[in-house]
């Protein structure tokens, strides 16, 4: 029972898992701030957002697994690393040490929340009624996440010398993982053909405009384009992914089917 499950990885299932795993893994990362955020109010805010993302992941994984008879828990906790299809950006640590760097956390939140908001907007018209319903609910959450992150990115970027330096460092560290978000492949083409949803590449121009506007207001410099390409959406992850999964999966593997 502790054995990993094997998923089919049909094209539509991969499309749903990319979305669901993005929410799941970023939710897990934000959850690491619980009890450690710089101030109590922010601790609650980050945890709220982590739970919003986990909620979205639950709906998406439930939907993605149904055809094959898997439930949300099996997909979340019993897949092998290569079967998680989140972009690499969300699996990166929050920064050095634990719980990490707040500047990096809000920079990444801005990038991901803007992406998800733009995707949810288009997914609200999906030919898949369940996905459209999930999008309709999630879009309000993503809008708030984007505003919350943008607010902090500007405060820190346009703040003290130290907060500016750390914000720019965070941006430099994360930026090279953003081209992966917008690489289109057969999964995207199939989604467009069936009306399931847009290519992630379709929201790139809007994403660049919205993120760029916030970074400009924050006085931060966008790093030069790099030839580096990460590959999490294809299931090929960094060394950080194994550690997240070990933490997430340990309980379900030790106590199969455990619930409380």
């Amino acid at each position: 029972m502790t054995a990993s499950i094997q998923i089919h990885r049909s094209l539509p299932q991969q499309y749903l898992l990319r979305l669901g795993d993005t929410c799941l893994i970023l939710g897990q990362r934000l959850g690491e701030w619980c009890g450690h955020a710089p101030v109590l109010e922010e601790d609650i805010a980050l945890t709220n957002m982590a739970l919003d993302l986990i909620g979205q992941a639950r709906a998406l994984l439930t939907h993605a697994g149904r055809a094959q008879g898997f439930d949300e828990d099996q997909l979340a906790f019993l897949r092998d690393e290569r079967d998680y299809l989140n972009p690499t950006l969300v699996e990166l640590p929050n920064g050095p040490g634990r719980p990490g760097d707040f500047a990096l956390t809000v920079q990444r939140n801005l990038m991901v929340a803007t992406l998800l908001k733009l995707l949810w907007q288009k997914l609200a018209d999906s030919s898949d009624a369940e996905l459209a319903a999930i999008a309709g609910k999630a879009i309000k959450e993503a809008r708030y996440h984007q505003q919350h992150a943008a607010d902090w990115v500007v405060r820190l970027g346009d703040g003290t010398e130290e907060s500016h330096r750390r914000s720019q460092d965070a941006l430099n560290a994360l930026w090279r993982y953003t081209p992966e978000l917008f690489e289109a492949d057969a999964v995207d083409d199939a989604a467009v053909a069936s009306g399931l949803g847009p290519r992630w590449a379709d929201v790139r121009a809007d994403w660049a405009a919205e993120v760029g506007e916030v970074l400009a207001e924050a006085g931060l410099t966008i790093p030069a384009e790099s030839p580096f390409r990460s590959s999490g959406k294809r299931g090929v992850h960094t060394e950080h992914m194994g550690y997240i999964l070990a933490e997430m999966q340990q309980l379900q593997r030790a106590f199969p089917g455990g619930a409380w």
């Binding site: 101030v39 109590l40 109010e41 805010a45 709220n48 919350h148 607010d151 405060r155």
Partner: protein, 99 residues
């Protein structure tokens, strides 16, 4: 650390939330934030997580002038035996029965 801790603490804000069904904003607590915009955002996260609210006000705690607890007896006790100040001794015409 030569700087006293209070220099670094963010200012305190009082939070008022109007519930979904309610007409008035009710005081529900306080929080620390650097400015009004942040206070509103944090109030949303701290005080409206369980569907409590449909509108939020924040006020700098320093802007509130409160009565002195030492004056409580002088201020409020004299009203105790003045029941005639309650408009309960009138017979209302039936047209205004729902007052």
């Amino acid at each position: 650390m030569t700087e006293p801790n209070t220099q670094k603490e963010w200012p305190l804000w009082e939070v008022f939330v109007r519930s979904r069904a309610g007409l008035d904003h009710k005081h529900c607590g306080s929080l620390h934030a650097t400015d009004a915009a942040m206070a509103i955002q944090m109030a949303r996260d701290v005080y409206t997580r369980r569907q409590e609210g449909s509108s939020v006000w924040v006020v700098p705690s320093a802007a509130i002038t409160a009565s002195d607890p030492g004056d409580k007896a002088m201020y409020f006790d004299p009203a105790e035996d003045k029941v005639y100040r309650h408009p309960t001794f009138y017979k209302l015409p039936s047209e205004v029965d729902h007052m």
